[in-house]
């Protein structure tokens, strides 16, 4: 009985919570706000979005999440979606929505801001900033002259068991899709098989590869250039370094974050205004300075230490096919990479 009388405190806590819930549920989901589903994280782009809202006087509701999972939610929501804008980390997930006719075409005014190489040929999405595919390596265990000039060299015996890859990661899949486009199905399948036969070690994602390279568990790995910059910022003593493949090599593909407007949006104008804001000089400089990324709008130089876009000459990649992630996943599975 003594114990039960103590129930008074939890009962009051329950009542207080119910009040809090009712109060909180009343204030969520502003109908007038522009709703953005962002696969780019709050850590990276939160301040930029706040700036947009303040400068243009547009209230925003942002849902941050995992890019593929947000795409799945949008597909499930269909024309009932509260979202106006989808801003994903890579084009694969956006293409999934384009295939389901869930995106509205962007205006030529918006599309004109970016090199068409980083846009959807149907004009359903545009790239906003880019990350480059690189080889991260451990500078204590790998000599400079032992580094490959092309991603194709990684199937050679001298790299046996020394390369980490992340076959279930969106950027790796986008890279493989581009390779299929440019070098053909057979060459791509052969490269994937070659990597599997050469004992490539698989990891969960870019972070896991950079971390393993830093520890010395593996000598090198295929990742996006961004992550090692971050790791070195947190711990400058790490031996991991980025190595770029030679100009024009498919291994140096630039992967754009992609922004799109939902077909079901009733705020398409504000939505496009937001995308144009992302391509403004201010936002593009933010990407260059704060997120180590390549600005994609014309005329903005990237951050210190990141080579300028013009000097890169990544492969000319027609991005339409970046959408065919299904075929890519099948190819990866068949190669035996797990």
């Amino acid at each position: 009985m003594r114990a039960f009388r103590r129930g008074g405190v939890p009962a009051m806590a329950v009542a207080a919570l119910l009040v809090a819930i009712l109060a909180a549920s009343g204030c969520g989901g502003d109908r007038d706000a522009l709703t953005i589903y962002s696969g780019r994280t709050e850590d990276l782009v939160g301040p930029l979005l706040e700036r947009f809202s303040e400068e243009q006087g547009v209230p925003i509701d942002v849902r941050y999440g995992d890019t593929p999972q947000l795409a799945l939610l949008l597909a499930e929501e269909g024309d009932r979606t509260p979202a106006d804008v989808f801003w994903g980390q890579s084009p694969g997930a956006t293409a999934h929505l384009a295939q389901r006719d869930l995106l509205a075409p962007l205006s030529s005014e918006t599309l004109g801001l970016v090199n068409p190489r980083f846009e959807d040929p149907q004009g359903l999405w545009t790239g906003t900033s880019g990350r480059q595919r690189v080889l991260v390596y451990n500078s204590e265990t790998v000599a400079q002259d032992g580094l490959p000039r092309s991603v194709h060299e990684l199937t050679r015996p001298e790299y046996r068991g020394r390369v980490g890859i992340a076959p279930t990661n969106g950027s790796f899949q986008d890279f493989v899709t581009a390779m299929r486009d440019i070098e053909g199905e057979e060459a791509t399948a052969a490269w994937l098989r070659g990597m599997a036969d050469n004992g490539a070690r698989t990891y969960a994602n870019n972070n896991a590869i950079v971390e393993a390279v830093g520890r010395g568990e593996i000598d090198m790995g295929l990742v996006n250039h961004y992550y090692n910059h971050r790791f070195l910022q947190e711990d400058p003593s790490l031996p991991s370094r980025n190595h770029r493949f030679e100009d024009g090599d498919i291994g140096g593909l630039l992967i754009p974050s992609s922004a799109s407007v939902l077909a079901a949006s009733d705020k398409k104008e504000e939505a496009e205004a937001f995308i144009r804001f992302l391509l403004s000089k201010e936002a593009q400089e933010y990407f260059a300075d704060e997120t180590f990324e390549y600005p994609l709008a014309q005329g903005v130089p990237p951050a210190e230490g990141v080579p300028p876009l013009e000097s890169l000459r990544p492969p000319d990649e027609p991005p339409a096919r970046l959408g065919d992630v299904e075929g890519t996943a099948r190819l990866i599975q068949e190669s035996g990479l797990e």
């Binding site: 819930i21 990276l44 995992d66 593929p68 939610l73 797990e338």
Partner: protein, 538 residues
């Protein structure tokens, strides 16, 4: 007199019906994920070809192997730890009681990552050991890695219900056994184990289901299970992912039913009573201390050490980002409050909605009760992503009030309760089963109504079990990610979403600060809701 008895019996029958009806109504939301999977599979087609694909048998086999072995290991570890803190003179057991549930709150995507950074080759431990000339640690990877890491992260699913059961178990029987000359080991085997069997089985089942649904750990540790197959196919091949999810849900239900058959249900009546029993460990003391220290060292101290290391490193390196937690830890307040509100609400709602089913299954051999229990339990075996998509599907297709709940806090709390109801149900069933029927009958003959008996007899006796269940829901909801990201109101950051966001873009110091805050908040809430109440009942 005889008419009074007949009247009471009629009443009992009527109450049974009312209870069944209540259980049925409350079970409806729990059917939502499976119903969604059935509807979507029918739309997409290809279930059969997906499920008969031989390439999927291997991941299924690996899922079952991992889930079974981790459940067995967690049962041993969790039961041992529960007995030591509840029954022995283990030094420091008050503090240990608070620490033991905490590994549950570390999301596996950071918990597993930290354990890799700590123990893998070239990691923090090896670097420390290399100063004394030791090197060559084994890899943390594949089956062995996944088994070890998941056991360390999930043993609290067994520990909490078993500790609650032992708390409630009268020491008289164990004392009698001791007086009759049995040693501690024999007493444990012949008295404690049979009494705690239901709680151990319930906890092990939860571990089994958790491992089936886990994605974060197996993905990082490269062990290719069914859930990994679901996630890697979801965007690429939706029919396959939907078919595999349905298979996972049905598998969970089969296991739940089978487990109930095997474990049996009738728990011997046992009331709590008397003072707590304290078994002197004697010469086993050193071994017991080593066991608990090793367990807490691996499951809690190691990840915490890594998190502190990352924090210090990041603070030393400094930051120029205005929204960094390194620059402004005050940014943790809002996520911490959100986490507390959502998870405490979820714990209370979950316990309340599963209580009728717990009574029904514990008191009657009943199809309605078993069906409801299987549905509730199945919700725990499905990945959070599936739960979130299912609720989005149903909510958006519902008219009026329910449709308006989409991406609001009540929906989020409901989704947590639905996903984690099993965690409240299992200990509640054990607790309901161990309330002596004769007490209830006595209260009834004294003319106490159903609600009065519930308030004065059942709930007080069930309190430790219910608190343990609430604690499990609480700790799980606090770290929940996919449901939170997809269904929380816009602009409702929680500690788990902050940790994830920082992890995604490799802001390790930020992720660590938020993860340490999550551990601190969960420690305080566990103390308030579980440990303190536990003591009050002693």
């Amino acid at each position: 007199m005889s008419s009074a008895i007949a009247h009471a019996l009629d009443g009992a029958r009527a109450r049974g019906l009312g209870l069944r009806a209540l259980v049925l109504v409350l079970a409806v939301p729990f059917a939502a994920p499976l119903a969604y999977l059935v509807v979507r599979n029918a739309e997409e087609g290809g279930v059969w070809s997906a499920l008969t694909d031989e390439a999927l048998l291997a991941p299924l086999g690996r899922s079952l192997l991992l889930a079974t072995t981790v459940a067995a290991a967690a049962a041993v570890v969790g039961t041992t730890a529960a007995w030591l803190v509840q029954r022995s003179d283990l030094p420091g057991r008050r503090v240990i009681r608070l620490l033991l549930p905490l590994p549950l709150v570390l999301p596996s995507f950071i918990g597993a990552f930290a354990l890799i950074a700590a123990f893998a080759p070239g990691g923090l431990l090896e670097r420390a050991l290399s100063r004394v000339g030791v090197s060559g640690l084994p890899e943390v990877r594949g089956f062995a890695g996944a088994f070890t890491v998941l056991t360390l992260l999930t043993y609290p699913y067994v520990y909490l219900p078993v500790a609650a059961r032992l708390r409630q178990l009268p020491p008289a029987m164990e004392e009698s056994a001791r007086l009759l000359g049995r040693g501690p080991a024999a007493t444990f085997a012949t008295v404690v184990l049979p009494q705690a069997r239901a709680a151990i089985a319930a906890g092990a089942l939860l571990v089994f289901l958790y491992v089936l649904a886990d994605f974060g750990a197996v993905q990082l540790l490269r062990y290719d299970t069914l859930t990994r197959a679901i996630f890697s196919n979801y965007l690429l091949d939706p029919p396959v992912a939907l078919a595999l999810s349905l298979a996972l849900g049905l598998l969970a239900i089969v296991v739940v039913i089978a487990q109930r058959r095997v474990a049996g249900r009738r728990v011997p009546d046992a009331r709590r009573g008397g003072r707590a029993l304290t078994v002197p460990l004697g010469r086993w003391r050193a071994a017991a201390v080593a066991f608990v220290a090793g367990l807490l060292g691996l499951a809690l101290a190691a990840p915490v050490a890594v998190l502190v290391y990352w924090t210090v490193r990041g603070v030393n390196a400094g930051t120029t980002r205005p929204n960094s937690l390194v620059a402004d830890p005050g940014r943790l307040v809002e996520p911490a409050l959100n986490t507390t509100i959502a998870s405490v609400s979820a714990a209370l709602v979950a316990v309340a909605v599963v209580l009728p089913a717990a009574f029904l299954t514990a008191r009657h051999r009943d199809r309605v009760g078993s069906g409801a229990a299987a549905l509730v339990t199945g919700g725990f075996a499905l990945p959070g992503l599936v739960i979130a998509l299912a609720l989005a599907f149903w909510t958006l297709r519902s008219p009026g009030l329910i449709g308006a709940l989409y991406q609001t806090l009540p929906l989020l709390v409901g989704a947590y309760a639905l996903h984690f109801g099993a965690l409240a149900l299992a200990p509640a069933q054990v607790a309901a089963g161990s309330v002596p029927r004769r007490l209830d009958d006595a209260a009834r003959t004294l003319g106490r109504g159903r609600l009065a008996r519930l308030a004065t007899v059942d709930l007080p006796l069930m309190a430790p079990g219910l608190a343990a269940g609430a604690g499990l829901v609480l700790l799980s909801a606090m770290k929940e990610l996919p449901v939170t990201l997809l269904l929380a109101p816009a602009g409702f950051p929680t500690l788990a979403t902050r940790i994830w966001s920082s992890t995604e873009d490799a802001f390790w110091a930020d992720a660590s600060i938020a993860a340490l805050a999550l551990l601190a908040v969960s420690g305080v809430l566990t103390w308030l809701l579980v440990v303190r109440r536990d003591h009050a009942l002693a």
